[in-house]
């Protein structure tokens, strides 16, 4: 490992100033960064530690809205009573990440901003994500790659909390040298056709400081369903974050966001519109699942994701709608 200096940020503004130094990177829990430093995917000169910033690991409520500090660990977030009860999809997503060890170190902001886990990128191939000019998955081992939104890179966004945050219509607070900007969760993530080397709109000297959740509407229920190819320590093959606002048996409004299928959390506005104002019957759930996969464009080895995703959408939707 190349040697580097550690500096502690006093506050978010100070962190941003320190990230202005050449070859500086921000560290929250460090789980993702440390792995990348060991694999020489990142070779920083300065690590700017964010954990020294006070009170950025807390959940606070004001006027119904909930603000979550970006440094909260995934474990703490998943156990937070206010999140479990009113923003269940986020608690379940946080709880589904990695292992207990990873959830105790990894942070919400780090989970959202983690780099892709495509095996070509992580194993040192000079792909788009590493600043290169090609995506090796196109003609290679693409079992776990994108069926939506791919090109020129076909990574899938690896975060579990990201689809949950998009489904909850969260706002991301980003600190930069001018102060702070607020970005709707859905606009934070960017397709590879925008910039194939990156997954979001965060600039090098910006940090994701906090996440705001809008006030939970009454009669809203939500869930996160994650399909894994083994029972622990892995990313979603396919996942679904669903938020339903119900009026008795009728769905007033729905937000459905898929994970594991696209380079960004993949929202399904057309399916959401199909469900609004209707009782969610098995027939409607099946139609929604079919519509969800319209336009899917699988690669040579990941066509299995199409029926799998349909089943995930149909079953998750139905079980959430009929939950007592």
């Amino acid at each position: 490992m190349k040697s580097f200096a550690n500096v502690n940020a006093r506050d978010a503004k100070d962190a941003v100033a320190k990230l202005g130094q050449p070859n500086a990177v921000a560290v929250g829990g460090g789980s993702d960064l440390l792995g990348m430093v060991k694999e020489h995917l990142v070779e920083p000169d300065v690590l700017v530690h964010l954990k020294s910033i006070r009170k950025l690991d807390q959940v606070s409520a004001k006027a119904g809205e909930v603000q979550i500090g970006g440094l909260i660990t995934l474990d703490t977030l998943s156990r937070e009573p206010a999140i479990r009860s009113r923003y269940t999809v986020l608690a379940e997503a946080a709880e589904s990440v990695g292992t207990p060890q990873i959830r105790n170190a990894g942070t919400l902001a780090g989970n959202v901003c983690q780099r892709p886990w495509c095996w070509y990128y992580r194993n040192g191939f000079p792909c788009f994500k590493a600043g290169g000019k090609q995506c090796f998955s196109i003609t290679g081992e693409n079992q776990f790659h994108a069926i939506f939104g791919g090109g020129p890179s076909f990574i899938v966004h690896p975060s579990d909390t990201a689809p949950a945050l998009v489904a909850l219509d969260a706002k991301f607070r980003v600190t930069n040298s001018d102060g702070e900007r607020t970005i709707p969760a859905a606009e934070f993530f960017a397709l590879p056709r925008v910039d194939a080397a990156r997954e979001n709109v965060l600039a090098q000297d910006e940090i994701l400081t906090a996440v705001d959740l809008p006030a939970a509407r009454p009669h809203t229920r939500s869930t996160y369903h994650k399909v894994l190819d083994r029972e622990a320590w892995t990313h979603a093959v396919v996942s679904a974050a669903i938020v339903l606002e119900m009026d008795q048996q009728v769905c007033k409004s729905a937000r459905i966001v898929l994970g594991g299928v696209a380079p960004i959390p993949w929202r399904l506005p057309k399916v959401e519109a199909m469900l609004a104002g209707k009782p969610i019957t098995p027939e409607l759930a099946a139609q929604a699942a079919e519509a969800a996969l319209e336009g899917a464009n699988p690669l040579a080895k990941n066509a299995y994701k199409v029926p799998l995703t349909k089943a995930v959408v149909r079953r998750t939707l139905l079980s959430l709608a009929t939950k007592a």
């Binding site: 490992m1 560290v27 440390l34 292992t99 207990p100 060890q101 622990a232």
Partner: protein
């Protein structure tokens, strides 16, 4: 190389060590003689390097030592009280939950964090708590039995970790 000072409490003892900024917690602990902290995959996959920081299991291979400044660390060496083993250690012996032994320190520490938080876990909760610890010998059945047995045997701790 630049060095820095690290102040931590390990197994109840205050320590002040000189470290390099890039030292992993795993490397520092082993350098200081805590060989119960095992070097496994070094990628956060196997959990053999698990230690408790403020009562919570973490992979010491995925944390810079500098990140735990001021922290309270528990390694497997700190679990027994003199010659008296922790009920978890007793249960692992009684149930034959130790074969090659390489995963055992991490597994016992992960289980301890669970029992401190949840003194009477279900089997599912035990399995979830051990999900970050690979074992290639036992098939997990005996470790899970051992943790459940230890829970039954162990006095409910007065201090409940958050």
């Amino acid at each position: 190389m630049k060095t820095m000072s690290l102040c931590v409490t390990v197994n109840g003892e205050s320590k002040q060590w000189t470290i390099a900024p890039g030292d992993l917690l795993l490397d520092v602990l082993r350098r200081e003689g805590y060989f119960g902290v095992k070097r496994g995959c070094e990628k956060g996959e196997c959990g053999a390097c698990t230690v408790l920081v403020h009562g919570k299991p973490v992979n010491s291979c995925l944390i810079f030592a500098a990140q735990v400044e001021g922290g309270e660390i528990l390694t497997i060496e700190g679990l027994a009280q003199g010659d008296t083993l922790d009920p978890l250690q007793e249960a692992f012996l009684d149930h034959g939950a130790v074969q090659c032994g390489f995963c055992t320190p991490g597994m016992i520490l992960a289980a301890k964090a669970l029992l401190d938080r949840q003194p009477h876990p279900t089997e599912e909760q035990v399995r979830e708590a051990l999900a970050g610890n690979y074992c290639r010998c036992t098939g997990y059945r005996k470790p899970v039995e051992a943790v459940l047995a230890a829970a039954a045997r162990r006095k409910v701790p007065t201090e409940v970790a958050r």
